[in-house]
């Protein structure tokens, strides 16, 4: 673990960029330099940043599919179980044969949506390791502007290609300002 002269553990070296466009160009340079453990921070999602960082499609959709299928099956169980097994309900002598199955579709549809939405909601937090109490990036006082108008890039010290001089130079070359070391603790 890399340490500062004062004994703090180093989380990353970070820089601020003046605009979304500058951050986007810098991200492409960092990606091409072969870094793996790094991230960019912005007040809003920047269009095309995933490609600029070399990230693929988010497979959160897999969880949503799982949620949808379980919702459909739950609805089928909740409807067919009581209606055909537990308590066969005869309402005004209306039919309850096989051809009435479409009457069960609306609830199947609703529960499919409901479970898919819960899956999406919990998956985006789980896959992002949220909620969390703190993060090393918050140790940098300038970083509070990330939710306002600040654009930041941080390369983690854990990255095998991380060297203090090399990363500093790279951040400087890409137009990074206020380059600093971010403490782990």
């Amino acid at each position: 673990m890399m340490k500062t002269p004062f004994g703090h553990n180093v989380y990353a070296m970070a820089a601020e960029y003046p605009s979304a466009a500058a951050l986007y160009e810098a991200a492409k340079r960092i990606r091409d330099a072969g870094f793996r453990r790094w991230d960019v921070y912005s007040p809003f999602p920047i269009h095309g940043m995933d490609e600029a960082m070399g990230l693929g499609k988010s497979w959160l959709s897999g969880w949503v599919l799982f949620g949808g299928v379980s919702g459909l099956l739950t609805a089928a169980l909740v409807e067919f179980g009581p209606s055909w097994g537990l308590y066969r309900l005869d309402v005004h002598g209306k039919p309850w044969n096989f051809w009435t199955v479409p009457a069960f579709f609306p609830i199947m549809f609703e529960l499919t949506i409901l479970f898919s939405a819960f899956a999406a909601f919990f998956a985006w937090q789980g896959m992002n390791r949220l909620p969390r109490w703190n993060h090393p990036m918050f140790n940098w006082d300038r970083f509070s502007r990330v939710t306002n108008d600040g654009f930041f890039l941080a390369i983690e010290a854990r990255d095998p290609r991380f060297t203090e001089e090399g990363v500093h130079r790279l951040l400087e070359e890409t137009g990074g300002q206020h380059i600093t070391i971010v403490h782990e603790d």
Binding site: S58, Y87, W133
Partner: protein, 483 residues
């Protein structure tokens, strides 16, 4: 080859300017201006008008809750409902409120899928409106059952005799549709709120605010690795909400369409109800946003262009509704069914004739037609007037559909006109109070405009901004009307 291409390229440039050069955020406001102005609504002390408005709405809400308590403890007899009019103001209010919610979901989900960036200025408050409207709507099915303490029969669990619900019933579908709609709307709304709660957390000056916003912001830090999953979740929630919102009012309409009452028993109801819901909902969005925009000085974010577009949607959906009204009359005539024909003549000339002429014809069909004219869409007073007409008209429409079908039973000896009691009237006014109180609390405690989303509508948010100096996606500004 010398003169012609110059003219053509000049024409193209002019045409492009007309399309691309209407900015969504006026006066070239930057990111920090947006953060400051939108957060200020939450962070400054409450203005005096807010306290005045809140006192009025909260009083109405309190009296409405008293009426609900009185109705629960005394019985449904406190309302004017009497056979054959078994459904009256209660279900009218339910359909009215649930319909209003639909515009919020249309803005947040359907316009998102259609890549309409102008939605970013209005989606947060419209979604909040959806939640509050659905809360108001949910009150009525609960209390109209009469024995409120047995409302748990609605849940899919067997009752004390081991009898299960009838899952083939449209009313059971409605329970699932409305509860799913509310839950998914909350999840979608909260997902959108997280980055903005992080903004308020980072700006917070007191420990309480830091703690509360810190908890609800979930530790959000704007990381792109987080945005990646977040955006996929947001897209999928939008994709899920789109068929959901269309299903909800379709299912509500099934409550009527699956019965044998003339004027209810029609196949046109699902699309007719959905169009009416979006129509009425947009009117309510405008009713809430026009005063907020003026009071909190948000004219640069909610611009005349936004109002113009909402007015166009009201015109479109209002015309759908007008078409549906005409088609109902046509089918009543064309079917040759004597009961159906009678019911529709009764709608126009019967005891509720003025509800039809004023509510359905003038408010719903004619008043939105003003929006064919640009100066009407650009005139705040005209827009507000039409919105209020539509708010009222849609309530009248639901009442005519529900009570108008019931007052003339198949047996003329049981014909009876509905008269609301003071409990009916004040329960409805009470829900108006609950709705507006919740909205007033919302604008004071949460960012009423999605900051992280509206920032993407600013040209500087484009990663290629400034690469092509000739074509900017925004004009140098200053000429747009801001109020």
């Amino acid at each position: 080859m010398d003169a012609a291409p110059t003219v053509a390229s000049e024409t193209i440039r002019q045409a492009e300017r007309r399309i691309a050069h209407v900015p969504l955020v006026l006066n070239r406001r930057n990111f920090s201006w947006l953060t400051e102005r939108i957060s200020a609504v939450v962070e400054q002390t409450a203005p005096r008008w807010w306290w005045v408005a809140f006192t009025i709405t909260a009083s109405a809400a309190t009296f409405g809750l008293f009426c609900i308590g009185y109705q629960i403890s005394t019985g449904v007899g406190t309302w004017g409902n009497q056979i054959p009019v078994g459904w009256a103001w209660d279900i009218t209010n339910f359909v009215f409120w649930i319909g209003i919610g639909h515009a919020g979901t249309l803005i947040s989900a359907i316009l998102f899928l259609l890549r309409q960036k102008w939605r970013t200025s209005i989606n947060r408050s419209a979604e909040a409106m959806t939640l509050f409207a659905v809360i108001c709507a949910a009150i009525f099915p609960g209390i109209h059952v009469g024995r409120f303490w047995m409302a748990w029969y609605l849940a899919p669990i067997p009752n004390n005799w081991g009898i299960w619900q009838n899952f083939r019933s449209a009313l059971m579908w409605d329970v699932f549709a409305v509860s799913t709609y509310f839950t998914v709307s909350v999840l979608f709304w909260y997902t959108g709120l997280v980055p903005d709660l992080a903004t308020l957390r980072d700006r917070a000056t007191t420990r309480v605010r830091k703690f509360l916003f810190g908890i609800f912001a979930l530790g959000w830090r704007g990381s792109n690795r987080n945005w990646r999953h977040y955006e996929m979740a947001y897209l999928l929630l939008a994709g899920l909400s789109t068929p959901l919102v269309l299903s909800v009012h379709s299912v509500v309409s099934f409550d009527f369409a699956t019965t044998v009452i003339p004027t209810w028993h029609t196949t046109i109801f699902p699309p007719y109800f959905v169009a009416g819901a979006i129509f009425g909902g947009f009117a309510m969005v405008l009713t809430l946003l026009l005063p907020c925009r003026a009071m909190f000085k948000l004219q640069d974010v909610i611009t005349p262009q936004h109002i113009d577009k909402m007015a166009k949607i009201i015109l479109l959906t209002g015309s759908f509704v007008g078409y549906a009204y005409m088609m109902e009359f046509f089918v009543a005539w064309y079917s040759g069914n004597a009961y159906e024909r009678f019911a529709f003549w009764n709608r126009v000339l019967g005891p509720y004739w003025w509800y039809w002429w004023l509510g359905m014809l003038f408010c719903n069909c004619l008043s939105p037609q003003l929006f064919w004219f640009r100066w009407c869409r650009r005139n705040i007073l005209v827009v507000f007037f039409v919105s209020m007409c539509v708010n009222a008209g849609m309530w009248f429409e639901r009442f005519i559909i529900i009570a108008g079908g019931l007052i003339r039973d198949f047996l003329p000896s049981s014909w009876r006109v509905f008269h609301p009691t003071w409990v009916d009237i004040w329960t409805y006014i009470g829900t108006l109070g609950i709705f507006t109180s919740l909205f007033l609390l919302f604008v004071r405690f949460l960012p009423m405009i999605a900051m992280s989303e509206v920032k993407t509508a600013v040209p500087e948010a484009d990663p290629h901004y400034g690469e092509l100096p000739g074509i900017q996606s925004v004009s140098p500004g200053g000429k747009e009307r801001t109020r």
